[in-house]
């Protein structure tokens, strides 16, 4: 069975689908992604705080955007990537893709929470309230519930194989439902006037603002890859404890 791998670089990526070849490769990639994330983050923060001008409507409070928007993007993007690996895992029956799904979930939930938290802190000075039943905020909250549901389901199943496959079905059902949820919440929101303030009507963006946001988004992306690779390595260690290479490896690591 073939299995595409996260990073295709023109080399034969299929042989890295086996956990024992993937494990050292991932180990080599983690520091790279980690440092690239840190560099993007530093650049993004510099642009965000020292280059981007003050917004004439919102003053300095808009600077929350540099984490709020990237976190919100990542929260949704990670769920889609999860669903992709879940589908690959179900179709090609590859253990590594299922492990990748489980490795992505906590980071996705973290970004979802960050998006909600920063949304609330941005909402207070902008709308005068911590929480508005705005379409984006509400969908983000439901997305957080979907992440929690996924984690609870996998935690509730002892058998790794069943946990993988049940989680995969749930991720696919979730990803089909996310757009439906989003549009229904939006529809509901427009019907119930009053909470119609939207984060999109926020500042007309200066180019430097956009640059800062994109840099931070890239940082979040690289961080996610590093975190997921790190976690997938732990999952491999937990799951494959019968394999000889794992046992030998554990001895070499003090």
């Amino acid at each position: 069975m073939n299995q595409p791998v996260l990073l295709a670089g023109g080399i034969n990526v299929f042989k890295y689908a086996a956990p024992q070849t993937f494990y050292p490769l991932a180990g080599k990639m983690i520091p790279w992604f980690g440092w690239i994330a840190a560099a993007f983050c530093a650049a993004g923060l510099y642009v965000g705080f020292f280059v981007a001008p003050t917004d004439h409507q919102q003053g300095e409070s808009y600077r929350i955007i540099f984490i709020h928007v990237p976190a919100a993007w990542m929260s949704m993007f990670i769920y889609v990537v999860m669903a992709f690996w879940a589908g690959v895992g179900l179709i090609f029956n590859t253990r590594l893709s299922h492990m990748m799904v489980s490795a992505l979930v906590p980071t996705g939930a973290m970004f979802t929470f960050v998006a909600l938290w920063t949304g609330a802190l941005w909402g207070k000075p902008t709308w005068g309230t911590w929480w508005a039943w705005d379409a984006r905020m509400t969908s983000e909250l439901i997305l957080l519930f979907l992440y929690f549901g996924f984690m609870a389901l996998q935690a509730g199943i002892d058998d790794a194989r069943r946990a993988d496959r049940a989680g995969a079905v749930l991720a696919l059902v979730g990803v089909v439902n996310i757009p439906i949820i989003y549009f229904s919440v939006k529809w509901w929101n427009t019907l119930h006037q009053g909470a119609s303030v939207s984060l999109t009507s926020a500042p007309t963006m200066a180019t430097t603002m956009l640059t800062g946001m994109l840099l931070m988004a890239l940082a979040a992306w690289m961080y996610t890859i590093a975190a997921a690779l790190h976690r997938v390595r732990s999952i491999i260690l937990e799951r494959e404890h019968g394999a000889t290479w794992i046992n030998e490896y554990a001895e070499t690591k003090a």
């Binding site: 705080f49 003053g59 709020h68 906590p106 929470f113 046992n247």
Partner: protein, 56 residues
């Protein structure tokens, strides 16, 4: 450079609480996630070594 002084920087034009509240919690969560990641790896390795010890 936008800010005349560090004081102004931390004040964030009166929005310091909101801006720094956002950044601090995000930072705390990322630090916590990294700590959890390392803990999980250490625990996985410990369990493996115990398995190996039991077999040897």
């Amino acid at each position: 450079m936008n800010w005349g002084s560090w004081d102004n920087f931390w004040m964030m034009g009166g929005y310091g609480l909101y801006v720094w509240g956002s950044y601090a919690v995000t930072l705390a969560l990322i630090v916590a996630e990294i700590a959890l990641l390392r803990m999980r790896r250490r625990e996985a390795l410990d369990t493996l070594r115990q398995h190996n010890g039991a077999q040897a």
